[in-house]
Amino acid sequence: MSAEAARAHPRLAHHFESLEKQVHAARLGMWLFLATEVLLFTALFAAYAVYRYLFHETFAEASRHIETWIGLVNTIVLVTSSLTVALGLHRATRGDGKGTALFFGLSVLLALTFLGFKAIEYTHHFQEGQLPGRFYTYGEVTGPGASLFFTLYFLITGLHGIHVVIGMTVLIVVGIRAGRGAFSAEYHVPVELAGLYWHLVDLIWIFVFPLIYLI
C-alpha cells in the first residue's frame, strides 16, 4: 500500500485507480463537451440550411459580394495553426514543455492573424451596410433573404470568432504552464485537451468556409 502510494503520480487524483484511467476519463469528458459544441453550431447550420434552401439565388448572390480570398487565406491560416498545435502536443509527449510553449505560441500568432483578417472583413461589411436584419442597407444585393444571409453570416462567423478567442486563451494558459515545466511525458493531458478544442475550432471553420464563401 505504501509502496503503491509512493509510486503514484503526483497528478493522480485519489478517486482514480491509475493515471491511465484518469487520462481516459478526462479525454472522454472533453469529447462529450466537444459534442455539445458541435450541436451548438449545428443549430446555426440548420438555420442556414433552411434559409439557403428558401432563398437559394439570393444567398448565392450575397455570397459573391463577400471577400472569398479572406475566407481562403483564413482557412489556410487555421489549418496551419492546427498543425502547429498538433506538433506542440507531440513535443509534450516527449516531455519537451518549452517546445510545446513555442508551438502553442506560434498557433496563437496564427489565431491573431485569423482574427486580423476577420476584422478587415467585418470593417468592410459595416462600411457597405452588409448588416443583419433592419440594419441592412447594401444596395447591390436586395430582395428577401439578402439580410438573412448576412444575419447568419454574422451569427456563424461571430460564434466561431468567440471560439477562436476562447481557444487562443486556452492555448496561452496551457502553453505558459507547459513552458514552466508543469507537464511531463507521462502527464500532459491539459495540452492534449487544449489541442482538441483548437482542432474543433478548425473543424468547424472547414465547414463554414465552403458554406459561407463558396456558394
Binding site: L28, L39, V50, L54, S82, A86, G143, G195
Partner: protein, 132 residues
C-alpha cells in the same frame, strides 16, 4: 524542463507521428485549394454544394482522425463523436425535409413557390415552374 531521456529516446512511432501531421496538413491544404477551384467552376444543378460538403467532410475526417487522434483512441471517444454527428444529420436533415415538403405558400414570402415579398404587385423572383 525537457526530460533528456524522453527527447533522446525516441519511440518507434514517434517520427511517423510528425510525418503524419505534415501529410495531413498537406492534404488539408490540397483539399482547400481544390474546393476553392471547384467553386470557381460553378457546378450546375445544385451539385456544387454536394461537392463542397463532400470535400469539407473529407477534411473534417482527416482533422478528427489524425489531429484529434481518434485513429489511435478507444471506442468511447469515437462513439461520442459519431453520435454527435448523427444528431447533426438528424437536426439539419429533418429541418430541411420539413421545408422541402411544405405546401409552398406556407414558406416565407419571397421564397420559391411562396407569395412574393411586399405584396401582389411585385413580380415574383422566380418564374413559375422554374427549378432553383
Amino acid at each position: 524542463m525537457a526530460d533528456p531521456h524522453a527527447t533522446t529516446h525516441d519511440a518507434p512511432g514517434g517520427h511517423s507521428h510528425v510525418g503524419r501531421y505534415a501529410l495531413v496538413w498537406v492534404a488539408l491544404l490540397f483539399f482547400t485549394f481544390l474546393t476553392y477551384g471547384l467553386s470557381r467552376l460553378h457546378i450546375a444543378g445544385g451539385w456544387g454544394v454536394v461537392v463542397a460538403l463532400a470535400i469539407a467532410s473529407a477534411k473534417g475526417t482527416l482533422v478528427a482522425l489524425f489531429f484529434m487522434h481518434l485513429w489511435d483512441q478507444r471506442g468511447a471517444n469515437r462513439l461520442v463523436f459519431l453520435i454527435s454527428l448523427s444528431f447533426v444529420a438528424l437536426l439539419v436533415g429533418l429541418t430541411i425535409l420539413d421545408n422541402a415538403t411544405r405546401f409552398p405558400l406556407a414558406n416565407p414570402p419571397g421564397a420559391e413557390g411562396a407569395l412574393p415579398a411586399g405584396g401582389a404587385d411585385v413580380p415574383p423572383p422566380f418564374q413559375p415552374g422554374e427549378r432553383r
